[in-house]
């Protein structure tokens, strides 16, 4: 038995030790920062609540975008790197061709609800169109290629669309016109919350629920789940796999298009690069929640939004880091690494991440 223990030590992987050290260091740093911040308490309760609400709004946007990653990953096992661009394409087009002319003509002031509806329809339709086109031209021919090939194509598609729309509508930041209806704030439970943020959160939650019902209840949703289990078997069962994949892209892009409208309401500006980082963050959110799972994407998005908005002040300020808000992207990416290290299947991932032999 003595030898067994010695041999067990011999068999330990040094990489595992290194990874454990890394996990512990990050956790200790986060705890240290949090405790130090709380003891110091530089912010008032109201400020913390503001951070929270902002984080929720931001997080619900991430959740909507993350759905696209999760759905596509579910059926194709592919990271659709260009998904952030679908998000950008819709609202950028809708802003240039609909929102600005409608605002200039005074229509938005007279019929704000109708105006928003038209903007949303155009944005969603454009996002879906771009997604379907990308899938048809760039992804479909590569269905059976090695995994890195479609990923590289997707990276190409991402930059292609960014600079395509930059060429089309110009490289500057375009202001999204104010909607008078959504200016100012409401007081809810004694909290003063910006109207736009309330709209973003409520609309996102409704859409998330709608999508969940779509995936779980409808025929098409069932077909999607069948395809994500096994494409070949699904095809044998008479499911048109190409069509299901196309619709999956379209549905994901529709969510992204809607998220684009909400983004514009919240930040009141659009530009060609606006899709890239939200896209990456949303991917992080999808991984965090468990890629392939719809509720996971929602949960991951909200959590990431909260961490990003509360995190810099909570974790970093206590460590004596100046202007911590500059480092909020560092928090998001560190979370991605941490999730993949600690629980690669994500919070709600069902399948074990064991490799197949």
């Amino acid at each position: 038995m003595q030898t067994t223990i010695r041999q067990r030590f011999e068999n330990i992987d040094y990489l595992d030790i290194a990874l454990w050290v890394l996990r512990i260091v990050i956790i200790v740093a986060v705890l240290w920062g949090t405790v130090a911040t709380i003891l110091d308490n530089p912010y008032s309760t109201e400020q913390w609540l503001d951070f929270l609400i902002f984080g929720l709004a931001q997080g619900s946007l991430y959740a909507l975008i993350a759905l696209g990653y999760t759905l596509v990953y579910g059926v194709l096992l592919m990271i659709n790197f260009a998904h952030g661009e679908f998000f950008m394409a819709g609202i950028f087009t809708a802003t240039v061709f609909v929102a600005i002319p409608l605002d200039a003509s005074g229509f938005t002031d007279r019929h704000p609800i109708w105006a928003l509806l038209v903007i949303a329809v155009v944005a969603i339709a454009t996002s879906m169109g771009i997604a379907v086109l990308t899938e048809r031209v760039a992804y479909r021919p590569l269905r059976r290629a090695p995994r890195l090939v479609p990923l590289i194509t997707a990276i190409g598609a991402s930059f292609f669309w960014q600079y395509f729309f930059r060429g089309l509508y110009g490289s500057g930041i375009t202001a999204f016109p104010d909607v008078a209806l959504l200016k100012g704030s409401w007081t809810i439970l004694g909290l003063e919350i910006l109207k736009s943020q309330v709209v973003v959160i409520v609309a996102s939650v409704l859409m998330l629920i709608g999508l969940y019902i779509f995936v779980m209840r409808t025929r098409m949703g069932k077909a999607m789940r069948a395809v994500s289990e096994d494409k070949d078997v699904a095809a044998l069962m008479g499911i048109d796999v190409d069509r299901v994949i196309m619709i999956t892209f379209a549905v994901g892009a529709a969510m992204a298009g809607a998220a684009g409208v909400l983004y514009a309401l919240m930040y009141r500006q659009v530009h060609f690069f606006m899709g890239f980082f939200p896209g990456l963050k949303a991917f992080t959110a999808a991984v965090l929640g468990g890629i392939g799972s719809v509720p996971g994407a929602a949960l991951g998005g909200l959590l990431l939004g909260l961490f990003e908005s509360v995190g810099p002040c909570l974790f970093l300020e206590g460590l004596g880091i100046t202007s911590p808000y500059q480092l909020k992207d560092v928090i998001a990416f560190t979370m991605l690494v941490l999730v993949l290290l600690v629980r690669p299947q994500g919070i709600m991932g069902e399948r074990l991440a064991e490799k197949k032999a």
């Binding site: 992987d13 040094y14 990489l15 290194a18 990874l19 890394l22 592919m78 990271i79 240039v96 061709f97 031209v137 760039a138 021919p141 590569l142 290629a145 995994r147 890195l148 090939v149 479609p150 990923l151 590289i152 194509t153 990276i155 190409g156 598609a157 991402s158 930059f159 292609f160 669309w161 960014q162 600079y163 395509f164 930059r166 060429g167 089309l168 509508y169 110009g170 990456l280 991917f283 992080t284 991984v287 880091i321 100046t322 202007s323 911590p324 500059q326 480092l327 992207d329 560092v330 998001a332 990416f333 560190t334 991605l336 690494v337 993949l340 290290l341 690669p344 490799k355 032999a357």
Partner: protein, 567 residues
């Protein structure tokens, strides 16, 4: 439009190709490629690169149609090409007609009066539109006609056109390199116009290249066969002779190229160095690293901090600081890669991208600004000096960069053909099996990342000394994408491919200022096109070719274990 449906020729496909051509042509106009490149003449005053973008879709789709339906008969094929050309011009005509009434320019800045002028050939809406339709239709027809030609006519023709395009495109650069004396000037005036080639020059180039290509078509096989018939000893000598000649040419290159072009070549060289590094990680070991720029940044910042610059802490010389810069990049590579070692390929890509961004954000942040300058960057990094002499001019730095590139090429070449290269290939093919065969995954992956990081670190260090100052924005994601794109276009895993890719994707845009706006657009499009149409790249690596020389039988060495299994 009514079509005869009796023919076997598939008119539905023709219409679809025509619509595709129309969408491409319209897009190229709307995003400004046509307008921006209108000033870059290929044949002075006649044909510009803008025209190529304008009509390329008609020509190309006509060509594709003729290739795809080669059985339809010549008349139908040509008619199909004509229809495609016609269809491709229709949305442009619509654009010409509605642009001003709808004031499209307020939505899309590139729909400018200059573009409309170009689309109508300066002839007004009615006549101009007609010309546009006719030219596009004729070009569609020509495109469809090319595949109908026998290959011994077609190939020289295509080479001739390509040569005219390339020389016309680079006219400005060639003139710059040519110099201004005596006979040279006379020839130059003869061949080149104020912008692009002169008509005479274009014809001359075309005829010469067509002639050469036709000659090679008839004789080339014979020459190759004669070289192959030489004894192996002589063949090897020939190859080494070729390599020696190439190196000699490289040594004297700056003398031909002068300062401006050498500057461009220097930049290309830095990218070749980075490309070779990423090639090891992506091409050899099959791990997609999108945060590669981080190592370039570490190399540059280490150089800046170790030399007597604004934030310098050590005051070393370039040559002493260089190994430390490389080492710092390697260490960073090792630290960053440990958490991602167990991740699958696609996750690894995103996580490394995240790391690249983390490094950039940290460098940019106020938090680290007191030590590394934050957004203001680091100034006053000393030049490279050799024996007390400062290397300021690009011609001098060229040799430092060349040495770095040759070293990296040599190391890559040796490792590719060695045990480590084989381990990387096995890893790329099937990680699990490679491990079950006794390959230590951790060590193999770490080595790939470390060596890749070393090249990038070296590139970064030279970059810092070359510019004399560094700023965080030089180290953004675009650099990583740029390097990735050049190794993919050149051919994943191929060493000459890295050089070819860098010349095309870094050299060309630096020479043609119009490219600046559209660099990333083209990279994106190239990544898609290469992956869909030619995943092995422009200059594929040996692995792809190996298939051809199979079946080399050797005499049987005596005394092997088992004889009964011989079948």
């Amino acid at each position: 439009m009514t079509m005869e449906t009796e023919t076997r020729f598939n008119w539905g496909e023709i219409v679809r190709l025509g619509l595709l051509a129309a969408v491409i042509a319209l897009s190229l106009n709307l995003i400004g490629l046509v307008g921006t490149f209108a000033g870059r003449d290929i044949i002075g005053g006649m044909v510009s690169v803008g025209h190529v973008f304008l009509f390329g879709a008609a020509l190309g789709c006509g060509y594709i149609a003729a290739q795809r339906f080669s059985g339809g008969g010549a008349g139908n094929t040509l008619l199909g090409g004509l229809v495609i050309g016609l269809l491709s011009s229709l949305p442009l005509v619509v654009l010409v007609l509605i642009a001003e009434p709808l004031n499209l320019r307020q939505f899309m800045p590139y729909v400018s009066p200059a573009l409309l002028e170009m689309l109508t050939f300066g002839q007004g809406q009615a006549l101009g539109s007609l010309i546009l339709i006719v030219v596009a239709s004729v070009l569609g027809l020509i495109g469809a006609g090319i595949p109908l030609l026998p290959s011994r006519v077609r190939q020289p023709l295509i080479w001739g056109l390509a040569a005219v395009f390339l020389i016309g495109l680079l006219a400005e650069v060639i003139i710059l390199a040519w110099g201004n004396q005596g006979l040279g000037l006379a020839i130059r005036r003869f061949v080149f116009a104020a912008r692009g080639l002169s008509i005479l020059g274009a014809s001359l180039v075309f005829l010469i290249v067509v002639g050469l290509s036709a000659w090679w078509n008839s004789r080339g096989e014979g020459i190759k066969a004669r070289v192959n018939a030489l004894p192996p000893e002589r063949q090897r000598n020939l190859r080494w002779g070729g390599i020696g000649l190439g190196i000699l040419l490289l040594l004297f290159l700056p003398m031909f190229l002068r300062t401006y072009l050498t500057e461009v070549i220097d930049n290309v060289g830095l990218f070749i160095l980075m490309g070779l590094g990423l090639n090891i990680v992506v091409g050899f070991a099959g791990m997609l690293n999108l945060g590669y720029v981080a190592f370039f940044a570490i190399g540059a910042y280490t150089m800046a901090l170790l030399t007597p610059s604004e934030y310098g802490v050590a005051g070393l010389s370039f040559w002493t600081a260089l190994p430390f810069s490389v080492l710092a990049a390697v260490l960073m590579g090792l630290i960053l890669v440990i958490p991602v070692l167990k991740m699958r390929g696609d996750y690894l890509a995103i996580v490394t991208l995240g790391f690249g961004e983390i490094i950039r954000i940290l460098v940019l942040s106020d938090f680290l600004a007191p030590w590394i300058g934050g957004a203001q960057g680091i100034l006053k990094i000393p030049n490279v000096s050799v024996a007390g002499m400062e290397l300021v001019k690009p011609e001098h730095l060229y040799y430092v960069i060349l040495a770095g590139c040759l070293l990296a090429l040599f190391v890559s070449w040796r490792l590719r053909d060695a045990r480590l290269g084989r381990q990387w290939r096995a890893l790329r093919e099937d990680e699990d099996v490679a491990e079950a065969m006794g390959i230590n995954l951790v060590k193999t992956k770490l080595l790939a990342f470390a060596i890749g990081a070393a090249f990038a670190g070296m590139s970064g260090a030279i970059f810092a000394s070359k510019l004399g100052s560094i700023f965080p924005h030089s180290f953004n994601l675009m650099v990583s994408i740029n390097v990735l794109c050049l190794i993919i276009v050149g051919g994943i895993g191929s060493l000459p491919g890295v050089v070819v890719g860098a010349l095309f994707l870094v050299g060309l845009p630096e020479l043609l200022r119009e490219f600046a706006e559209y660099r990333m657009l083209m990279y994106g499009a190239l990544l898609i096109v290469m992956m869909v149409a030619r995943p092995e790249g422009l200059w594929p690596s040996e692995v792809m070719k190996r298939e051809l020389r199979a079946g080399s039988e050797e005499p049987l060495p005596a005394g092997f274990v088992v004889s009964s299994a011989e079948r």
